[in-house]
């Protein structure tokens, strides 16, 4: 409709940086202590789960590490989709009063979950390296690629649901129920092997499952998943992003009218 001057686009960097910085500040009270405090929740969950379940799955010497990888990837997925779904609503004060590409609000909402995951991943990789268990740089690069694809899946989901939430105000509650169930569908606290083989493909349909399993394979077990497995994950990420963009394009222009 109205022409957007190219000068405005160039300055998006300033907007993106300011949103990321202030979101971080609000979330963690602007201190390192606040950031560590926020890590206490997943860490305490990790401690309790390891303590309880390592007795049940005592046959697996890597249970703790597997749990750690699964838990933090899951935490990113759950937190990212939660804040992404609410992103336009949360930043409604900007949406209703100023004009800039709306997708900025959705994309930047993932910054805090992404920062947390990056810090935890760095700590985990360091730990593995110190123990001399870190496989080659290819394995690390593949892990980064899996995380990137998980981020794209979350972004696609967030693009679609952020605009839909403005029309369906209980979508966050519906999604909360799904993520609660999804925590147990994904092989986080149990090894995938305990499920019957015929169910594996169904479990892999739930996006966190392949990301968690592949990440464990390259980081902990030193195995590289098959090409077909990689293609499937890439296809899911592409499809999620595509659907997200389409839904967003359809509804975003009228988003401010539904605030």
């Amino acid at each position: 409709m109205s022409a957007v001057a190219s000068a405005e686009r160039a300055d998006l960097v300033g907007l993106v940086w300011t949103i990321v910085r202030t979101d971080f500040k609000v979330r963690y009270q602007g201190t390192l202590g606040g950031f560590v405090w926020a890590l206490l929740k997943p860490l305490s969950m990790f401690a309790v789960l390891t303590w309880v379940f390592s007795h049940i799955f005592s046959a697996d010497p890597n249970y703790g590490l597997n749990l750690l990888v699964g838990l933090f990837l899951w935490e990113f997925f759950a937190e990212g989709t939660k804040v992404g779904l609410m992103s336009l609503h949360t930043k409604g004060y900007l949406l209703a009063k100023t004009r800039f590409p709306r997708a900025v609000l959705v994309a930047t909402s993932l910054s805090n979950p992404l920062i947390t995951l990056t810090v935890v991943s760095a700590a985990m990789l360091t730990f593995l390296a110190v123990q001399g268990r870190l496989a080659g740089p290819l394995n690390v690069a593949l892990y980064v690629a899996y995380v990137a694809q998980l981020a794209l899946i979350v972004l696609g989901f967030s693009l679609a649901t952020s605009v839909l939430f403005l029309r369906f105000r209980d979508l966050n509650q519906v999604w909360e129920v799904i993520t609660h169930a999804g925590f147990f569908v994904a092989p986080i606290i149990y090894p995938l092997d305990i499920m019957p083989e015929r169910l594996h493909f169904n479990l892999y349909v739930w996006p966190p499952t392949p990301v968690i399993e592949y990440s464990r394979a390259v980081l902990i077990h030193g195995r590289i998943p098959s090409l077909r497995a990689h293609l499937l994950l890439a296809a899911v990420a592409t499809a999620s992003l595509l659907v997200g963009c389409l839904v967003f394009r359809r509804f975003a222009p009228r988003a401010a009218e539904n605030l």
Binding site: E8, T22, K97
Partner: protein, 255 residues
């Protein structure tokens, strides 16, 4: 001279359902129940043109479509049909303010709104002192916005928007904020921007404001342009319209 802001034949309406359903639950539970919809026409064939350096005034009573028109011009709402062309960047201040994050202090909010309005980070940082001084809020720079009074927040809003102004400035009830001193500063700043050649679209209920500041003005009534002319003429037309039909409620257009 080529118009900087051009709106042609704008139409905008909202479907008002007899029962509002805004959740998944309500949609599922009410799946079989029929709803009727009523069409509320807010803008009905509105066209306008503002040339570079001009100030266009918009008058009209509550519900006449002023705010919706400003939101469409600002690119925040979408028109159902018609075209808007803005040649240049645009800075809107709508509904007495800009959006604040209550958890952030004045400096961070200024950076946030400034960059959202199109300033680069460097420009936004560079204008913070000026913004706080203009609003008279230097002492409260590090106070979270949730502790601000509404008057303080509104003053900060206008200061930011005046600092971020580039190209076309859209002002809703601009001179209705703050004490006499702040109003005077706003008016001075406005005159300065006008001298610098800024294009302004200004909504006001005060005939004197429109007469003083606007080269041209339009009067909206029931979503249509009822009268168009010089600022003082439109101000008089607005007053006589109120005198003729003071008790009339906001007219649903098309009625």
């Amino acid at each position: 001279m080529k118009a900087v802001v051009e709106a042609r034949r704008l139409h905008k309406g909202f479907w008002i359902p007899s029962v509002r359903r805004s959740t998944v639950r309500e949609h599922v539970m009410g799946f079989l129940r029929r709803r009727s919809f009523e069409r509320l026409v807010v803008l009905d064939d509105v066209s306008l043109e503002v040339e570079a350096g001009q100030t266009l005034g918009i008058m009209g009573r509550n519900g006449s479509g002023k705010s919706t028109l400003l939101k469409i011009l600002s690119g925040i709402y979408q028109a159902d049909s018609g075209e808007v062309e803005i040649r240049g960047p645009i800075t809107p201040i709508l509904e007495l303010g800009v959006g604040w994050n209550p958890e952030l202090d004045a400096i961070d909010n200024t950076l946030l709104i400034g960059t959202a309005m199109g300033l680069s980070l460097r420009e936004a940082r560079g204008c913070i002192d000026g913004v706080l001084a203009f609003a008279g809020l230097e002492r409260f720079a590090n106070l979270q916005l949730k502790h601000y009074s509404s008057g303080m927040a509104a003053r900060l809003a206008y200061s930011v928007a005046f600092a971020a102004a580039r190209g076309v400035l859209i002002l809703d009830e601009v001179f209705a904020v703050g004490d006499a001193a702040f109003k005077a500063r706003c008016e001075d700043r406005y005159r300065e921007l006008h001298r610098q050649g800024y294009t302004v679209i200004l909504v006001s209920h005060l005939p004197s404001t429109v007469a003083d500041f606007c080269t041209r003005a339009i009067l909206l009534e029931g979503g249509r342009v009822a009268f168009e002319g010089r600022g003082d003429e439109v101000g008089r037309a607005y007053m006589s319209m109120l005198a003729e039909a003071p008790a009339q409620l906001p007219a649903a257009a098309g009625a």
